[in-house]
Symmetry: C2
Subunit: 210 residues, 2 copies
């Protein structure tokens, strides 16, 4: 049995969509950031990083979106959400997801989580970080649109875990000051993703009243 710990409007949505897509049975547990539940003693036993998401499995707890996404693929190979039998194609999937976690998500995080990288009381530096976000995140989307996105899905003809992960980050474009309309393939992709039933179920579950 799987338990998935999440908070709304976080990167948890990507793995949540994957779980819905493969038809996994899982329990959904909301971590309330407004009550600082991610730092509660109980949650720190599950995820000492004090972040979401976390995936509790029969074998132990997993964290980190790229790892959880590939895990879901491998546990449900019949869903065909990654080219598991093509070593190079799988590496491209992993490379795309790694770029999302190490560069795109990090650029975005400087809008809300600047205290991670400067003194929390240094409001001038935190504001300076926030000011750069529209530029730095736009650069990422420009690069993905021009060099990585193969259309109609991220990896071309196969719908993969990359689509769920990109969609989750693309949800934040407006708040990040990024004009997604400049990236035609990615903008269309977000629109198409928004209508997929498994995506709708995950979004609705996260937005439901706790």
């Amino acid at each position: 049995m799987i338990t998935f710990y999440y908070a709304p409007n976080t990167i948890a949505l990507a793995t949540h969509i994957a779980l819905e897509t493969v038809g996994a049975e899982y329990k959904l547990v909301r971590i309330d950031f407004s009550k600082r539940e991610q730092r509660s003693a109980e949650y720190l036993k599950i995820n000492p990083k004090a972040r979401v998401p976390a995936l509790m499995t029969d074998h132990g707890v997993l964290t980190e979106t790229p790892a959880m996404l590939l895990y879901v693929c491998q546990c449900f190979p019949e869903a065909n959400l990654a080219p598991l039998n093509d070593v190079f194609a799988l590496a491209q999937v992993n490379a795309f997801n790694s770029y999302l976690c190490s560069t795109v998500h990090v650029a975005h995080a400087h809008r809300m989580r600047g205290y991670r990288w400067v003194d929390a009381n240094d409001s001038a530096s935190i504001a300076a970080m926030q000011k750069k976000v529209p530029h730095s995140v736009s650069e990422c989307f420009e690069l993905m649109e021009r060099e990585m996105f193969k259309a109609p899905w991220v990896m071309g003809n196969q719908y993969t875990i990359c689509d769920m992960y990109l969609f989750t980050l693309a949800q934040w474009c407006e708040a990040d000051g990024v004009d997604i309309g400049r990236y035609q393939n990615i903008a269309e992709h977000r629109e198409i993703m928004s209508g997929i039933p498994a995506v709708c179920r995950a979004v609705a579950a996260e937005n439901a009243a706790p």
Copy 2:
């Protein structure tokens, strides 16, 4: 035939060690940052991200350390550098490597690459970022030592790609203002890794005069 593009003192070392460990045949190409070769038209065709490393294979180019490391494992399964047949254990490997790329490496990068996240002329904010690095990188090492490192290797009894990746980041502790001696397992690990022949070969090749 593989070509590996690297620069000394970068995260390229992790994949370089993996290539040496499995006995891959590859050509090593140094990208000279002092000449801004990573931004040359020629290199941008190989890696439009303008970063190292990049791995040119017969199938195309790969980037992103976690993806390249797993690719090397899967191309050389006899080297047994990851638990490829254990879905959960492999997810733990991927989770560790994802933490290194998205959190540890990013914390470190605020010492030298602050211009990515604030205006390049904002020297006060860039200095504020640099000042936080000893704290933020130390927090990562403290968490890895306490919660993740299983000893004697990162994943316990199996020597994996996680060891090469952690070693590469641990090389930077002194420059990052991190007292590695406070993290006994990781400090011993760095010492042991420093003596492994494949590690020595990769380090020597990178430090050789161009």
